[in-house]
């Protein structure tokens, strides 16, 4: 029995190390870009966390809305207070899985992430194209996609609408390292 327990424990260890073929973020950068008539709006967030489970190809992101940094601080206040309402909805998340990734291959691979994006109190199923590049033990994930503000109940007050387009471009640039 003891022997069996030992084997079972060992097996558990191995299995958990297999099932936890996880990657975590070394460096992250989420940028959004909105090109307006009066001026372009750019914001960056470098505190985004993510876990990528390479065996099952599941991925999760957690974005703190308040960590988006704008060049104009007044814009940052408006972004938090009026548009994303970050006191009410402090976080945005994405949970999904990645198709088209082969962990044994080096180089750039084109992949698609399918899952649920939660933002401003709204959850939507989305599909995001991107690339994953394997560099030794690291993975570099890049993606660029559009978000329609109306899809997430983000309304732009009438008087300032000219400054903000109805769609924003989101850019992801992540470096993953084994957990």
């Amino acid at each position: 029995m003891r022997y069996f327990l030992f084997v079972a424990f060992l097996f558990l260890k191995i299995s958990s190390s297999i099932s936890q073929n996880r990657y975590t973020v070394e460096e992250s950068m989420v940028t959004f870009f909105s090109d307006g008539i009066v001026e372009d709006i750019v914001a960056e967030n470098k505190t985004v966390t993510s876990i990528f489970e390479a065996t099952k190809k599941d991925i999760a992101f957690l974005v703190r809305i308040k960590d988006f940094q704008f060049e104009k601080k007044l814009m940052q206040v408006h972004f938090n207070e009026k548009f994303l309402e970050s006191e009410k909805y402090p976080k945005s998340t994405f949970v999904g899985s990645i198709a088209g990734f082969d962990g044994s291959k080096e180089g750039v691979q084109h992949v698609t992430a399918t899952g649920k994006l939660f933002m401003h109190g709204v959850t939507r199923d989305i599909k995001i194209p991107g690339t994953i590049e394997k560099q030794g033990s690291k993975l570099i994930l890049k993606s660029k996609f559009m978000i329609k503000l109306a899809d997430y109940n983000i309304s732009i007050p009438q008087v300032v609408w000219q400054n903000i387009s109805e769609q924003v471009e989101v850019d992801l640039n992540f470096t993953y390292i084994p957990f």
Binding site: K66, L74, N80, E81
Partner: protein, 297 residues
């Protein structure tokens, strides 16, 4: 027992779901956030709010008070008269602001330093309110020459203000503020005024929509000794659009330094001696942050 173990072992392969990934991320991160936008502007009606300008931002603020509405048709409900202050506010750091201004009443030059001592925040390290301290000085350019008034000296032109602005944002809509204020005037007429005066102010704002709010402000002067002066009271409507804040106000005060509106307001609000006016601000970002450096506006 063996079977149970086997099941446990097998189960361990699938012992997580996608949501567990998210939970792992969520539990790893618990930070506290400073409360933002307790008030729309650095002023509520006549006096200061606990807000300071973020680092590197310059605000141009133009305040205008018309004459008494009770003047009726003869003065076009006060529109014939104008009392103004033109000022510039600048954020040296996210917590420290300075300002200079020029008032038409008594041709007063004013300047102040404002510092956020404590900041309201939520999360792991929560704190319930914001405390900003304000120190100001006002210099009357009127009278033009000291000799215009017998015995008048240059020091008599000066007045000082020390103020604590204690503010709490209760929710996205409601913010309230308390303002204990001390004012020292170098020269007063002792028959109806004191050199040192203490006042306690209360103010609030309630947001109607994302860009508009109603505001109210009242200063109770504890050291009032003569019925010639009244407490400053005001109601306002804030409109925020992009880089501008428009504050439309109704108040009995026409001065825009603490000395002027807290200790020298000559009109009685409840008597109908109300002045319509506005504060208009325009914010400019002079210094841009290095990309990615973290700041809290």
């Amino acid at each position: 027992m063996k079977l149970l173990l086997l099941i446990a072992v097998l189960f361990s392969f699938n012992a997580y779901g996608q949501d567990d990934l998210l939970k792992a991320l969520d539990s790893a991160k618990e930070e506290s956030d400073f409360t933002i936008a307790t008030f729309k502007g650095t002023r509520i009606i006549n006096g200061h709010s606990a807000e300071t300008k973020p680092k590197g931002t310059l605000e141009f603020i133009f305040s205008h008070r018309f004459g008494r509405i009770s003047g009726g048709w003869y003065t076009l409900y006060g529109l014939d008269d104008a009392f103004v202050r033109i000022g510039l506010d600048y954020g040296i750091t996210d917590r420290l602001s300075v300002s200079v201004g020029r008032n038409s009443i008594n041709k007063t030059l004013d300047g102040y330093v404002k510092y956020k001592v404590l900041r309201q925040k939520t999360g792991a390290d929560a704190f319930p309110f914001t405390v900003t301290t304000m120190g100001g000085v006002a210099y009357n350019i009127y009278p033009k020459a000291n000799s215009d008034i017998e015995g008048f000296e240059t020091v008599d032109r000066l007045a000082y203000t020390g103020q604590a602005l204690i503010a709490k944002k209760f929710n996205a809509k409601l913010s309230l503020q308390l303002m204990p204020t001390f004012i020292h005037k170098n020269a007063v007429d002792h028959t109806f005024d004191k050199n040192n005066q203490f006042a306690i102010g209360g103010a609030g704002r309630y947001k109607l929509t994302k860009g508009t709010a109603i505001t109210a402000e009242y200063y109770y002067n504890v050291d009032r000794i003569h019925p010639r002066y009244y407490d400053a009271i005001g109601f306002g409507f804030d409109i925020e659009t992009g880089g501008h804040v428009f504050q439309l106000v109704f108040t009995n005060a026409v001065g825009l330094t603490e000395r002027a509106f807290i200790t020298e307001t000559r009109d009685e609000f409840w008597n109908g001696d109300i002045h319509f006016g506005f504060n208009v601000t325009r914010t400019f970002q002079l210094k841009k942050d290095k990309k990615g450096s973290k700041t809290t506006p």
